[in-house]
Symmetry: C2
Subunit: 313 residues, 2 copies
Amino acid sequence: MTLPMQVPIPGLPARVRIHEVGPRDGLQNEKATVPTAVKADFVRRLAEAGLTTVEATSFVHPKWVPQLADAEELFPQVAALPVALPVLVPNERGLDRALALGARRVAVFASATESFAKANLNRTVDESLAMFAPVVARAKAAGVHVRGYLSMCFGDPWEGAVPVPRVVRVCRALLDLGCDELSLGDTIGVATPGHVTALLDELTGQGVPVDAVGVHFHDTYGQALANTLAALQRGVTTVDASAGGLGGCPFAKSATGNLATEDLVWMLRGLGVETGVDLDRLVATSVWMAAHLNRPSPSRTVRALSPTHHQEQ
Amino acid sequence: MTLPMQVPIPGLPARVRIHEVGPRDGLQNEKATVPTAVKADFVRRLAEAGLTTVEATSFVHPKWVPQLADAEELFPQVAALPVALPVLVPNERGLDRALALGARRVAVFASATESFAKANLNRTVDESLAMFAPVVARAKAAGVHVRGYLSMCFGDPWEGAVPVPRVVRVCRALLDLGCDELSLGDTIGVATPGHVTALLDELTGQGVPVDAVGVHFHDTYGQALANTLAALQRGVTTVDASAGGLGGCPFAKSATGNLATEDLVWMLRGLGVETGVDLDRLVATSVWMAAHLNRPSPSRTVRALSPTHHQEQ
């Protein structure tokens, strides 16, 4: 494969770290139940494809995320892989479970809006930050890297557009708790590039180092890659994506949620931005996973590079 | 609908003219045969949704494009609409047919690569330019606006990456023939934003006015909107798109070819760039057309704004 032609844009980062969320954020939103051995193989294949950070699973209570109820079984099967393997932890109990298994990276998840904090965590934003405080403190004390996810950074299904200052306030609170990095989530996919630029400018203008800021775009309205370009132009070097675009909305077959890692890698490859990812191996992994999920990948790059994929599903 | 939040990026154009290609480029690549009355209604609905340029049909010989064999019947049914209605003409015979019906805008189509010129026109690039010379000259003499499509501006399925100077040469030749505007086509969807920027910089650096340059991106690898953003950042104000993303590759149900007009309008709306398009009416039109084509729209914005659309197909 020789395409795309590499033509850099001056000023973009030389290298981007892709934070692969397929095994966690992807599978948690898929209807199909995936056997633990398949999940472990998925993580291993992603690492072999060159992804250096693979979010492996979640220690949220199985009642809330039954798809990932096997975290205790899964994590030891992948722990020796030579990549970063963050896991989601909702509270101290989750942190205890993760630490007991030797996790070296954890992630907490807050909301920029009161409505989603209430819906997802049954708390106000400030109550959820108070809940995360000891989680982050104890993780840091154990030498564990902490990522802070922030949902609804651009729009909220109940509240509409989310003002930038409100997002910045929660970002600063997460960093003040001790989070090493943030992931700015466009949970419902409504962001556009100017909004992305404005939020990043406000954050960095207030002294937040851009290296501490990751972006997490959803492709619900097809905007994720344009938003990513805007973020790269502001110096962001951590981009979340999901192999094959796993984790689409359940209402429509092959509808899209997460930005597909393959579509991201295609753009970065064209821009001459290093990722370390072998695109062919990644596509093969997503095609393999799609067979286990019994639905075709919504990634356009997967479809284009594996043209028989859809007939097979 | 209140989303997306409008946050401009300084330096982008205040207004973009969307060159809607659904009735021509879209339907010409759909398998289903669409009745002439439905096509006319499609053009009318697109105009009512606020699109100011709707490419209506093609005067290519029906042997090559049977889907648009009804151009003579269709055009008079839409000619009175208060919008620009360009039509495709391959040669002098096609121009005669278009002029006889009172067309005021025509488009010729060249290739940046020898391989595609041979495959699509059975001519070398220079032979095809020679064929277009009298078409453009006669159109201009009749006071008719001429667009020059240029295919394979970024990559070619036979030749791989296409060098920028080769594209620029054919662009200049089309302008020298008298074309009023160009449409730079990424026919196989492989372009990335740096490549787009490089081609535009080279063209404008050689004195081609950016107002004479439109972009025509395909979403085969999910790159179309990021490429559009790069083009806007270089001052491009004419963007081709296809309502509902019509015209996808035939090999996979709902696979994508043309950039969906809805996804483009979503981004431009968020950027505060005027288009004049009523997104809700446009989505309703694409959902209506999808029912006639018996396949769901591949546009992510159509899917998101019409969540029952897929169950209905």
